[in-house]
């Protein structure tokens, strides 16, 4: 992701427009409830909101106090309460509890719920059930996209994946469609749209529907190509450990909404929140570098800085004056960032150069290449037994399952048993969910699979069958990773030395072990101008590919940045 250093790449559309739009709309919504009010914000909306409107903007529009939604009784003295939430039933129920408690206490307040990015009927029906439909006013803040950087925009909807792929709840599809529509209406028509995956196709259709509902004006296209890719097309990429600087920072400090909180280990003083984007010049240069290069770069940078500082010596008063007024501030800033990133790198070094991490990388690479699987399994076993990290154990298990097209029943059972003993029996549910998603499955004897397919096939005679099969697809789906990897040459041959300093392909982000499937797909489709020639690949990916010309490629919307 992030910046394209190529000189011939076209200029980026101005994504700050999205921010302005969202801000204006929020202000308008706040003004709709005149007078002082307390604002309750859902926890996962805090950071995105911060990027759109800061506290002083909110205060300007008569927001008195800010609270986080914590699902507890509230302690507000205001007569007007405003809730800024995602359309989730749980939150709405909590608001109902708040309102009902006030009623019982004989307290009169005004309540307003602002749903973002849209409201759902289900939420409103909760209000109705609780008899509060009239007491609580609702509104929508159509804040669909948050520009995280000059060239990354995100919907910031983490539950999309779970709802859509696990629960089969397609309510966000329309939201994604509206998002495309928003882009389309701001940045003009897209010249071409490519997509793969059932969900992408539905998103595309939903968007088309919305476009057709209104009259279109011909205008300059700022966005060329659009790619829609289902997450389940490429599970492998997010399952691998990242070894570029930005990825490691994310692993250790967690980047949220383009913002990272460096803990005390990385900085001398307490928590520092830093925005990580291309505005940060130091970060911008190292974010996509393999970690092994980062130190060299940073020390070079430090030397440059020193020379720049050293310029002071031998200056006369006048020169000194211009130096102080023009350069010093920039240098100071750079200095600060540099020291921050250096200490962050040190922390990363401490954690990641340990033997464990090295072995985990080795295991991942073996899994990707399909060598020494037994050793990998025993590594994973040990990993589970020693309680190294639950998430990483699961990640390795999933990677094993996907690359090996499911686990052997014997391994599946023993690994699962080990895991349950380590982390508790409640993870039976975790495994059930992973199985449902096709992330961690048992190898099926051939027959069972065809039985399932024919069952699905029988239902394929009415119109809705497409959607029906979708519900089963995760069950019937084979991951086909090996075949894909051969076809698209995703795993570079390991016998050659991989030069991480001058990478020859995208595999550098995984130390030369793997080229991300989604990126490879985009490359291939762009080279061919469509899916022709990739029939075998799309078949392996379960089909649902489409491309539409005459509409709108360049950036793709990162639903999930890993």
């Amino acid at each position: 992701m992030a910046h394209s250093a190529r000189r011939d790449s076209p200029k980026l559309p101005d994504f700050s427009l999205l921010k302005r739009l969202a801000k204006d709309q929020l202000v308008y919504l706040l003004e709709q409830l005149p007078g002082k009010k307390d604002l309750f914000i859902e926890a996962d909306l805090m950071s995105p909101l911060d990027r759109i409107a800061n506290v002083s903007t909110l205060k300007q529009h008569e927001v008195d106090k800010l609270y986080k939604v914590e699902y507890k009784p509230i302690v507000s003295t205001s007569d007007q309460l405003c809730f800024l939430i995602r359309p989730r039933i749980k939150t709405v129920k909590w608001i109902c509890d708040v309102a009902n408690a006030d009623k019982a206490a004989g307290r009169f307040r005004r309540y307003k719920i602002i749903f973002t990015p849209q409201k759902f009927y289900a939420c409103e029906s909760v209000l109705e059930e609780q008899g509060l439909f009239g007491d609580v006013t609702t509104d929508e803040w159509s804040f669909y996209l948050l520009p995280l950087d000059d060239d990354i925009i995100s919907m910031e909807l983490p539950e999309f994946f779970r709802d859509n792929f696990l629960a089969g709840d397609q309510r966000w599809v329309r939201t994604a469609g509206s998002t495309l529509h928003l882009l389309h209406s701001i940045y003009g028509p897209f010249s071409k749209i490519y997509g793969i995956g059932r969900c992408s196709k539905m998103v595309y259709e939903s968007w088309r529907e919305q476009v057709e509902e209104e009259e279109t004006k011909a205008r300059q296209a700022e966005i060329g190509n659009v790619f829609l890719i289902d997450r389940d097309v490429d599970f492998v990429t997010p399952l691998c450990s990242q070894v570029v600087y930005e990825g490691l920072v994310d692993d250790i400090f967690k980047i949220k909404c383009g913002c990272v909180g460096f803990g005390t280990d990385a900085t001398s003083d307490k928590n520092v929140k830093v925005m990580l984007n291309s505005q940060d010049k130091v970060f911008n240069e190292i974010r996509n570098e393999h970690f092994s290069n980062v130190f060299g770069f940073l020390s070079q940078k430090a030397r440059n800085l020193q020379t720049a500082y050293d310029k002071r010596r031998g200056m006369d008063i006048k020169q000194m004056k211009t130096f102080v007024s023009e350069e010093l501030k920039g240098l100071k800033q750079e200095h600060r960032l540099l020291s921050l990133h250096i200490s962050a790198s040190e922390t990363i070094m401490k954690k990641k150069t340990k033997q464990d991490f090295q072995e985990m990388l080795k295991t991942e690479h073996s899994l990707l290449e399909g060598f020494e699987i037994r050793e990998c399994i025993s590594f994973i076993e040990e990993h589970i037994i020693r309680l190294v990290s639950m998430i990483e154990s699961l990640r390795l298990l999933c990677l094993l399952s996907i690359t090996e097209n499911g686990l052997l029943p014997k391994d599946y059972r023993s690994l699962k048993a080990l895991f349950l003993q380590s982390y508790g029996v409640e993870h039976l549910l975790t495994f059930a969910n992973l199985k449902q998603l096709g992330l961690l499955v048992e190898q099926q004897p051939g027959e069972t699979l065809t039985a399932m397919e024919s069952k699905v096939g029988k239902l394929v005679n009415d119109k809705t069958a497409g959607k029906l099969t979708d519900a089963f697809s995760s069950l019937a789906k084979k991951s086909n990773f090996r075949a894909l990897s051969r076809k698209l040459n995703l795993v570079p041959k390991s016998d050659e030395e991989y030069n991480l300093r001058v990478p020859r392909d995208m595999a550098y982000i995984f130390s030369g072990a793997y080229i991300p499937l989604s990126c490879k797909l985009i490359e291939q489709v762009l080279e061919r101008g469509g899916w022709t020639g990739l029939e075998e690949v799309t078949r392996l990916l379960n089909g649902h590919e489409f491309s539409v010309t005459g509409l709108l490629i360049r950036r793709y919307i990162c639903r999930e940045i890993k």
Binding site: K93, F120, D169, S206, Q421, G424, K467
Partner: protein, 835 residues
């Protein structure tokens, strides 16, 4: 042409003219308009006649007739309801018939009954004496005065709110005259009772005295208000006509008409920017136009007629023809007045001479150009054309304008072009067959949209579409709208089969933008044609639109699948909620079963809202796996151990049914673990309950409960690896180094000995760690040495194993101080690579 001023009559400094609009096509037998209730709608709307409303016997009922403004009959039928007091038209061309008992019946243009409403219960007894239909910015209203002399108002019949006005002191029976006016957003009644006058509003009844109307003029017997509610005129029993503002603040004039009898009808005749306002009064034999300047014009009348006040004049309808009486617009005066020197007049003359090929044309043109008035002249001609009713006059004016335009540079042709188009449309709708005698001023006020609506109400669909296309109105507002109306009307044709109608609609409407098939289908359903509605819904491209109607028609299955198809989950959810209330549980679940999308949506909802339903849902589907998962989740909500165990037992049963032996066994073990933890918590207060097996053992070990640990190890058949790891960690943490050593020797370690080195180093015990380095397998030797920081040992091991990458790894850890070592390693590497 030259006689264009022939019908002009001077009134003060203005002129009034009477233009014939139509020879009426109707054939009103001998009685004509006499003995009928007549209602003629404004803006050239339809005319309704209720003939001989007094007739009440069943054998001879009054006849209700509806005509276009040109007298073409639309419908006629005998009146079978109660006695009618008053009839009037609404702004949307619907006929209101106010009955004596206070009920108001609404009919459409084609005489079909729409609905009715009542003006209040008390009216049934007291009866309506008089009623008036009036128009205000809020819509069409009805006012009545009852036998008990009370007034009741409904300001907007589409949003019925009855208002009973306060009592008028001293009023018995009906007042001598009254009317309704809208002022300052308030609807009031002005009435006269003998010598007194009152204004009635919502709360009060105020006596008023119009300025300058002293008692000597007698009492008011008739009154009327202007089209815009701006002016009021009062007629007294001494024959005087008082005119003034309708708020009774200013007087305009008092004119003596010298007629003592009360006029049959009195109507204001004015236009926007009138020079000379006037009131038209009509008696049996005389039509009098009384200007406020005091001048009058008289027209003889020999046939009973009806006056219709319009925005810019008065229509006079009698049994044979219809005229428009209006003040001649200033621009027409300027052009046509004899010997006028106005630029427009000169231009018209110039063009006339030009047509005759006379050089005089040039002279006239020069004259205009010298005064640089050519632009003005063109504008005048165009404007005058708008006000002329005769097509030839329009043409000559427009030709003159076009001629004048040729001599102008930079003159925008927009006004000219628009006018030509609009006049063409107006001339078409004025045609007797369409019968909408609109003036240009009225047309502008009415707007094109409304004109098209009116054509649509009259079912002139092709003409309406032609006009939309001709004036290039965007499809959404134009053609599509007309088609929608057409289709809604089409589906009501009872004589055609469903199939034929559906086909006809599809062919005509096609995929015109903005026409919603679901709306048309809704109409069909309203008319009781469910099958047709379903056929029409099939044409609807947006499946979301089909859903509400399908639900209404109780086609829930279809509605659900359409909702799913639409991809709009809100819609699916709506249908699901509806079905939930509508169907019994079994049917509801069965239906969901066939719609996985809807089912998963409903499950999501149940997970958050109705856990119990979720269980039923899984039960219905025999989904034992999910049911078991449900119990597992539920077990965590139970506080008491016994209930928790019983819930877990249910989970075990379900897992067994689902043939998931693994999960069943895991759950059973969990139950066993819980019991074990409970026992130990009771005995030793270890706080184990709820921990995982591993955590439990860790706690046990740290508490030194080795026997219990052993027991768990055996009971749960823990892998040796895990057991060794646990022991190892716990001993190292407690620094039990001797124990550790003993343990390492108890049997061969299943986890190797590197782990021993690691745990020792974690506690920074290098000497203990060293003990185990020798035991490590050859492959791990180098690593083991490096862990304890013994570079030399590592180097030896690596050299011994001749492993290049290991040597590299050791090299990378060497600092500059270890130059000897580096040297050795490098040499070993070289020799290793040679071999």
């Amino acid at each position: 042409m030259s006689f264009i001023t022939a019908n002009w009559n001077p009134l003060g400094d203005a002129f009034y003219r009477k233009t014939e609009l139509y020879d009426m096509c109707w054939n009103l037998r001998d009685s004509g308009l006499r003995d009928s209730l007549v209602a003629a709608a404004h803006y050239g709307g339809p005319i309704a006649l209720l003939r001989e409303p007094q007739r009440r016997s069943p054998s001879s009922r009054p006849q209700l007739e509806i005509y276009l403004a040109s007298g073409i009959s639309i419908t006629s039928f005998p009146w079978k309801s109660g006695p009618v007091v008053h009839i009037g038209w609404t702004v949307t061309d619907e006929l209101l018939c106010v009955q004596e008992d206070g009920s108001v019946l609404i009919y459409n243009l084609f005489g079909s009954f729409k609905r009715h409403f009542s003006m209040g219960q008390e009216v049934v007894q007291s009866q309506v004496l008089e009623a008036k239909v009036f128009h205000s910015p809020y819509g069409t209203g009805v006012a009545i005065v009852t036998g008990s002399s009370r007034f009741t108002l409904a300001t907007n019949i589409d949003d019925l709110k009855l208002r009973r006005l306060p009592e008028v002191p001293g009023l018995h029976g009906k007042p001598s005259s009254w009317l309704v006016l809208t002022q300052d957003r308030q609807t009031k009644v002005i009435l006269s009772n003998g010598p007194e006058m009152f204004v009635l509003d919502n709360t009060s009844c105020t006596p008023v005295c119009p300025p300058g109307l002293s008692p000597q003029y007698g009492s008011v017997v008739h009154m009327c208000v202007s089209f815009s509610y701006k002016y009021l005129s009062l007629f007294t029993d001494t024959g005087h006509l008082w005119t003034g503002s309708s708020n009774l603040q200013d007087k305009l004039s008092i004119v003596d008409t010298k007629k003592k009898t009360t006029p049959n009808q009195m109507v204001w005749c004015c236009r926007p920017q009138s020079q000379q306002l006037s009131v038209v009064l009509m008696w049996d034999r005389l039509l009098l136009v009384a200007g406020i300047c005091g001048d009058t014009i008289q027209f003889p009348v020999d046939d009973p007629c009806v006056l219709v006040g319009e925005l810019d004049g008065v229509r006079i309808i009698n049994s044979t023809n219809q005229d428009l009486l209006q003040e001649v617009p200033l621009v027409c005066q300027d052009i046509f007045k004899i010997a006028s020197m106005a630029p427009g007049a000169l231009l018209l003359e110039a063009h006339r001479e030009y047509e005759k090929s006379s050089q005089k044309a040039d002279e006239y043109l020069r004259e205009i150009k010298e005064q640089s008035m050519l632009g003005e002249a063109v504008r005048q001609c165009v404007e005058a054309a708008a006000h002329e009713y005769d097509a030839n006059t329009q043409k000559s004016l427009l030709r003159a304008a076009s001629f004048g335009k040729c001599f102008l540079v930079d003159f925008s042709p927009d006004q000219f072009v628009t006018m030509c188009r609009e006049l063409r449309v107006l001339n078409t709708v004025r045609d007797g067959a369409v019968g909408l005698p609109l003036t240009h001023t009225q047309f502008k006020q009415l707007t094109l949209q409304v004109l098209i609506d009116r054509l649509v109400y009259r079912q002139f669909y092709p003409l309406a579409i032609e006009i939309c296309r001709y004036l290039k109105i965007p499809d959404y507002q134009g053609v599509s709208r007309v088609l929608k109306h057409w289709a809604s009307c089409k589906v009501q044709q009872k004589d055609l089969s469903d199939e034929a109608i559906a086909r006809a609609v599809c062919v005509k409407v096609g995929d015109a933008p903005g026409v919603s098939y679901s709306d048309i289908a809704a109409k069909a359903y309203e008319c009781g044609r469910t099958e047709l509605a379903i056929k029409l819904l099939d044409f609807e491209a947006r499946s979301g639109e089909q859903v509400p109607l399908l639900l209404k028609m109780k086609r829930s299955q279809l509605a659900l699948s359409k909702a799913v198809e639409s991809g709009d989950t809100d819609l699916v959810y709506t249908v699901v909620t509806y079905l939930k209330n509508e169907l019994n549980r079994g049917d509801f679940f069965m239906m969901l079963r066939n719609q996985p999308v809807a089912q998963s949506l409903y499950r999501q909802f149940c997970k958050l809202q109705e856990q119990e339903t979720l269980k039923d849902l899984y039960n219905q589907d025999d989904d034992h796996q999910e049911l078991a998962n449900y119990y597992i989740t539920a077990s965590y909500r139970e506080k008491r151990l016994e209930t928790r165990l019983s819930v877990l037992q249910k989970a075990v049963d379900e897992f067994n049914k689902a043939k998931n032996e693994f999960a069943a066994k895991a759950t059973e073990e969990e139950m066993r673990l819980l019991r074990f933890q409970r026992k130990l918590d009771d005995e030793k207060g270890a706080g184990l309950l709820g921990l995982s097996l591993q955590e439990t053992m860790e706690v046990l070990l740290s508490l030194g409960l080795h026997k219990h640990t052993e027991q768990l190890y055996r009971d749960f058949r823990l892998p040796d690896k895990r057991y060794w790891w646990l022991k190892l960690k716990s001993m190292a943490e407690k620094h039990e180094w001797e124990e550790l050593e003993k343990f390492s020797k108890s049997k061969k370690s299943p986890i190797g000995y590197l782990a021993f080195v690691d745990v020792c180093m974690k506690s920074n015990n290098k000497s203990e760690a060293r003990k185990y380095v020798s035991k490590v397998t050859p492959e791990q030797k180098v690593r083991a040495h490096m862990v304890i920081g013994d570079l030399e040992g590592a180097a030896d091991a690596a050299i011994e194993r001749r492993n290049d990458s290991e040597m590299g790894a050791v090299l990378s850890r060497c600092s500059t101080a270890d130059c000897l070592l580096i040297d050795r390693l490098n040499r070993a590497r070289v020799s290793a690579s040679k071999k």
